[in-house]
Subunit: 136 residues, 4 copies
Amino acid sequence: MFTRTLEPAFYDTDALGHINNTRLPAWFEWARNDLFRLFTPNLDPRKWALIMARMDVEYRAELYYGEEVELRTWLTRLGNSSFTVTQQAWQGGRLGAQGNTVMVHYDHAAKRAAPLPEAIRAELQKHVQEPAEAES
Amino acid sequence: MFTRTLEPAFYDTDALGHINNTRLPAWFEWARNDLFRLFTPNLDPRKWALIMARMDVEYRAELYYGEEVELRTWLTRLGNSSFTVTQQAWQGGRLGAQGNTVMVHYDHAAKRAAPLPEAIRAELQKHVQEPAEAES
Amino acid sequence: MFTRTLEPAFYDTDALGHINNTRLPAWFEWARNDLFRLFTPNLDPRKWALIMARMDVEYRAELYYGEEVELRTWLTRLGNSSFTVTQQAWQGGRLGAQGNTVMVHYDHAAKRAAPLPEAIRAELQKHVQEPAEAES
Amino acid sequence: MFTRTLEPAFYDTDALGHINNTRLPAWFEWARNDLFRLFTPNLDPRKWALIMARMDVEYRAELYYGEEVELRTWLTRLGNSSFTVTQQAWQGGRLGAQGNTVMVHYDHAAKRAAPLPEAIRAELQKHVQEPAEAES
């Protein structure tokens, strides 16, 4: 599991006084930098090898500006050419949001999915975990 | 069904040369203004009556800067206090993304879900449609 | 002068209940699409010929969600290889924000400023106006 | 001077392959959290005491995804009720952008500027610096 801490910005809030729902997919993408580095160590976008097939977010509790957020990122599925990333945003000991993203290893030249290279699969395997473990 | 047209901005793109995935939840929220007006006709955030329980987006095809996007918004479920909004982003005759959002009618003072008022339910009912109809 | 209408999104607001200051540069970039088309008619980013040298925004009055915003865009300076775009955001007959952007015609291959082509300069010239005219 | 490090997100980029210009005002607002805490230690938006009068950003060099950015924040003017914040974004030893923001101490109830409280002024004074010192 990868964990990182984020300090919300004022622009992350909305007129209801808490973090706007559209910021969670953005925060989660930022936290996936740790996974992106396994595919493209220097994060050069010209060497990008992933696309996003789907994403979901469950909003469990309000998140606020003014307090740090812990983002947890791990894998809950590792397929042949795709995998599912599960992520959580915690604040003050409370789970604020949880989401899943299906990422596909992609050959941008051939415009089709490509099997995960073995070396990367081995790295990804280290971050596979049951959803329940992380939620407890 | 509500439809509206959006002209992408340059900042909607990312280094892969197309629309960044995090913009879809934002575009879809913008398109839900039509639904928000049924609950709060002048859109005054101090009278807000909805919260978001969950959201998902499926990315079907790349979306690009430089061409208008048609956003389609309808309901695929109408419950007692919540409903599911289904939305699509079309560009050049192609479905680029489809998503669902579960919205809950919420009493912000009591901090709990509240049944949908009958007048609003009647309006929402007019926008309930099968997913398949809209996709064809 | 180019004018276009924008309907604010809920995510444009912040916890103070109005439009967040960081949205104005984004809205203004979106409105510059009209100018970008003079340089790259199909808006293909691979054929981009402009870079941004500086930008300023003056915040004159609060802008709100729930009411349309009129964006006005014109030129207040037309130089050899650069020009200044002046933009305003009006809501309910009130000037909410005004900004200037210095754009440079840029040769991305040679990595240096390039003189404005005559045909484009002629088009830009039609949109040059004194700041005072537009503000009245 | 306040300094903080930011790791760019993929969504910060645009189709030109670098950081989009509209992200700088957002990054700078995030870095001003250190100043906001002097006014509202717990950052509760309901106790907010500042508004933004103007902002400018100069774009000096491209900023990229994949490398940390150092944000530097200090004051270059301290007036009776307002002050000017100067900020820089450095990446790989290069100044990528520099901006100024004029913040006004504001009485939201009375809807007018209010003199800076002495205790806060004393704190702000510690962060006043000439622009040249920070740029060297």
